[in-house]
Symmetry: C2
């Protein structure tokens, strides 16, 4: 019995007004600090519709209006933080990501699976690369492969059937059998490596993070340019550091 994941692919039943609201919201998130007419241009709705939805959102506090321009408000932060603190381990992972990044001086992330996608939950890195909340195909990430390696064959098969194995780069694993072999190796080694499977010039290493009850919480990962991420670094140094941090999270959860 494979888990019920992935998009439900329901028909377009339900509340269509709510769909409109979120369509406007997503457009606004893409183009922040935008005016009503500009937002109307970017959506398929009329000006009065956008106007009414927006003013409602402003009234609710979810959208901020400043000098006629509209922005996503911090009230969403309160809601999203609910998802980020649902499991205590997520919070523990936050600190580990930071320490890991500081100690290695590399970019570090903590990734969780939701709806058959990898979601960046915590990150340490430069000012510019803001990936938190972004969603990526599991099979193209070291952390994603780590998560896949924890699932049983049926679930992986369902994932392949539902999400597919799209080629993100030339190196992305697109063959189910190759994936199965890769996952087997990850289970053996205890860590996953990504060789430019998600982005050219980028390698990464990831390990699973478990709760004290041995439930999979997510994956801890470090990534960087191929020039610096040599085989030795990737296969010897980093896996141990990552495992240490993953272990710390477990211990923190067990003994506070």
């Amino acid at each position: 019995m494979s888990r019920d994941r992935g998009r439900g692919k329901r028909d377009d039943a339900g509340v269509s007004t709510t769909r409109k609201t979120f369509a406007i919201l997503e457009t606004l998130a893409d183009a922040d600090g935008v005016t009503i007419t500009e937002l109307t241009r970017r959506t398929e709705f009329t000006k009065s519709t956008v106007y009414r939805h927006l003013t409602t959102l402003v009234d609710l506090g979810y959208v901020i209006e400043r000098d006629g321009a509209y922005d996503i408000g911090f009230r969403f932060l309160e809601i999203s933080e609910q998802a980020r603190t649902r499991r205590r381990g997520y919070t523990a992972a936050k600190r580990s990501v930071f320490e890991l990044g500081k100690e290695t001086d590399e970019r570090a992330v903590f990734i969780v699976e939701e709806e058959y996608e990898g979601v960046y939950v915590h990150r340490y890195g430069s000012l510019s690369d803001t990936m938190i909340g972004k969603r990526r195909p599991l099979h193209s990430l070291a952390s994603g492969k780590v998560i896949l390696s924890e699932w049983d064959d049926d679930t992986v098969a369902d994932f392949v059937a539902t999400a597919g194995l799209d080629a993100i780069t030339d190196n992305t694993i697109t063959d189910p059998d190759t994936l199965a072999a890769e996952l087997e190796q990850i289970r053996d080694r205890g860590y996953a490596v990504n060789n430019e499977e998600h982005m050219d010039g980028l390698r990464s290493v990831a390990v699973p993070v478990y709760t004290p009850a041995d439930d999979l919480l997510g994956a801890l990962s470090v990534f960087g340019p191929t020039s610096r991420f040599t085989d030795e670094y990737v296969h010897d140094d980093l896996p141990n550091r990552l495992r240490d941090k993953a272990g710390e999270i477990r211990v923190t959860l067990a003994y506070g």
Copy 2:
């Protein structure tokens, strides 16, 4: 001319369906991992209404359904991150909060003003206290007073008239003149202190964070128990540390 802040206090015009959706969403955020009937109990809506709204949100991916229980999804993280990265300084402040917390071994936060309220945007602290996204009255926080001290008299007066000066503890400043004097002192010193004005047994220190263009970005703050937060610690040691970190953010933005 005071700025147009605070809640617009519009009438209940607009899209009432959207209001319902967010009412359900907020209830769900309060009581995560809840069932449809339970959610119906906690709201003023009928079961079919909650059902329709929820399934729509699940279909959109903003709510996750697992074994009949509903959770806030990580898709909100993508939206809220838009607010958190709107200004580059917000991202820079994240690292400063972490370093500050690590170095002082205290709880540290970065706070921003929105709609006349103080919003916790970044925090370093123990596993349990999750304050990110939470909103607090500006006049009851050291960081809030720092922000108020940067405003002109008209804006402060408008804030007092709109938000009021509610007493949160016995020490909260509730008198406008006392507040004015306090803000004057903060401007002189360059930092603000909170003496159990927000919570009994808690003291804190805060400094303003500026952009290279001298715009106020937010406030950096450290807080802890009165027992440990002696006058010397609060007035000598911490202000300098905080100022250093605030300066680093500025420099990062200018040359980083």
